[in-house]
Subunit: 300 residues, 2 copies
């Protein structure tokens, strides 16, 4: 089997949506424009148009791409069909290590994973090389991979670096004062946090997204590719954290939302010491929360 034609199928779906917007009797824009809009090649656009023509949704000849009928739900490719092999491997692997309750030291075999994911060994191999960046797995050359695991030391090391970066970013922002881009951006998040806070019982699930936005701003403050890279690791881990620790979620998110609002309030008042303290408190409670979710104590 060759590559999955996910780009083609995804583009086809998007095109169907565009057609629904334009409506019957309308005309699709030039190939070049479609390609540019979605960041794909004209080759793929033409493949999509060909199929649209064959299924009788458009009448395509030369520059004429007249819409004959609106698409119905059966015309669309399913979401399973529009994912690439690489995405499939990633999803399957994350499911495995996040839900699998695997002990640190567990041996991961490329061939075994490939069989269970229903992909080729090479696809798994490439994914593992990419994923090794996160420090959760290690390769024994000419042998297998070993899961280092989401252990206490992993969480602590992660948080130590995170704190170092964020603290530095926060201080830099405070030094630059209220005209700083990040300062303003953080303050601008107030409304969203308040909306969540006001109806926390129903909207606590919206917090993780906001938390990520808040901290992303800080990581970007330093304008450093290594810092931003590291934010990718943090994001991955917190995604896991939020996803697998459902008990007490409301309480935790309520606390964290309040902490964010306190930081923002201090910034609005222009009280730097207060802001610094509030931020330090927030990092501390985030650390505690993360460490509580660790279920493996020691490295394998």
């Amino acid at each position: 089997m060759p590559r999955s034609s996910a780009v083609y199928k995804e583009s086809y779906n998007r095109c169907l949506e565009a057609i629904a917007e334009i409506g019957t009797g309308g005309n699709l824009p030039p190939e070049t424009e479609i390609a540019e809009t979605w960041g794909i090649s004209r080759t793929t656009v033409r493949a999509v148009l060909k199929r649209l023509s064959k299924t009788g949704i458009i009448d395509w000849e030369g520059r004429r791409k007249a819409i004959l009928r609106l698409p119905h739900s059966e015309d669309f490719f399913t979401s399973e069909e529009t994912i690439t092999t690489a995405e499939k491997v990633e999803t399957a692997f994350m499911e495995l290590i996040l839900g699998g309750d695997l002990a640190p030291g567990t041996i991961l075999r490329e061939s075994e994973l490939a069989r269970s994911f229903g992909t080729s060994p090479s696809a798994v191999r490439e994914f593992l090389i990419r994923f090794s960046r996160f420090g959760l797995i290690e390769k024994e050359p000419n042998r297998h991979w070993v899961l280092r695991g989401f252990t206490r030391s992993f969480a602590e090391e992660l948080f130590d670096v995170r704190e170092l970066f964020e603290q530095r970013a926060f201080d830099q922002m405070l030094e630059r004062g209220p005209e700083d881009r990040t300062w303003k951006a953080l303050v601008a998040l107030q409304a969203e946090f308040e909306r969540i806070s006001a109806d926390i019982e129903n909207r606590y699930m919206e917090f993780p997204r906001m938390d990520e936005a808040f901290h992303k701003l800080l990581f970007e403050q330093l304008q450093n590719r290594f810092v931003e890279d590291f934010f990718g690791v943090v994001t991955m881990v917190f995604h896991y954290h939020y996803r697998w620790r459902k008990s007490g979620e409301l309480t935790r998110n309520r606390l964290a939302t309040r902490e964010h609002l306190e930081i923002i309030a201090a910034l609005r008042e222009g009280d730097r010491q207060k802001a610094r303290d509030a931020f330090a408190r927030h990092l501390q409670s985030a650390r505690t929360s993360l460490l509580e979710s660790v279920h493996w104590e020691e490295e394998g």
Copy 2:
């Protein structure tokens, strides 16, 4: 072509050396022991023994592995034969981007690189995925890789993070006092630095190795896998730095050697403030030195 049998050839060479040590009339240890000593499998050991037997170097039957003659230089595999494809790709790629004087934004094609390296596209692909960790290249999905390049901003961002980590490590060490493992280890490097310093005109080439050892100790102080990972990036860059900036090398290394000795002297005296100042000065001059070696100003 399958895998390169580099392990086999490398092991064969090592076995020849061991045979020369033992001498004619001696006997090689059990397969298990040989395998364990070099961290390879018994399968490979047996392949090596088979060849040793066929070339008449040993008489092998069951447990008897009697040495018949000493190996001569023609018996050894050449160093070209004992490297894996992965190593070959790595070397070739580093040569290209370090010596190639490529502008930031240069497009790197897997197939093109594969042709010029004489390996398969997959080998190149895997290497690039691994190498992308260093922040010097980026992938445009379904397209090519783009060289971000060794630019001023790359060097500055690298050094900012390095400084953050090393400064923290140094402070932690100072807090813990003269009994700290790193403190003692740094002081222990004095003799080596003095030996270089005493004959700097002839031994300045030995400095990079010592510099790396010095800073490695600091990076390890924090006992953090993310920090240690980052040290890998720093090492790679400084390897480049030392390798391609030959002019003024003596002057730079003389200065840096002196700086290291100043830090160590302050530690021996137990004067923390002096040590902190000396260390800050050293980082500053290292930064200047690195930035001077950047030949590309802007990102592409």
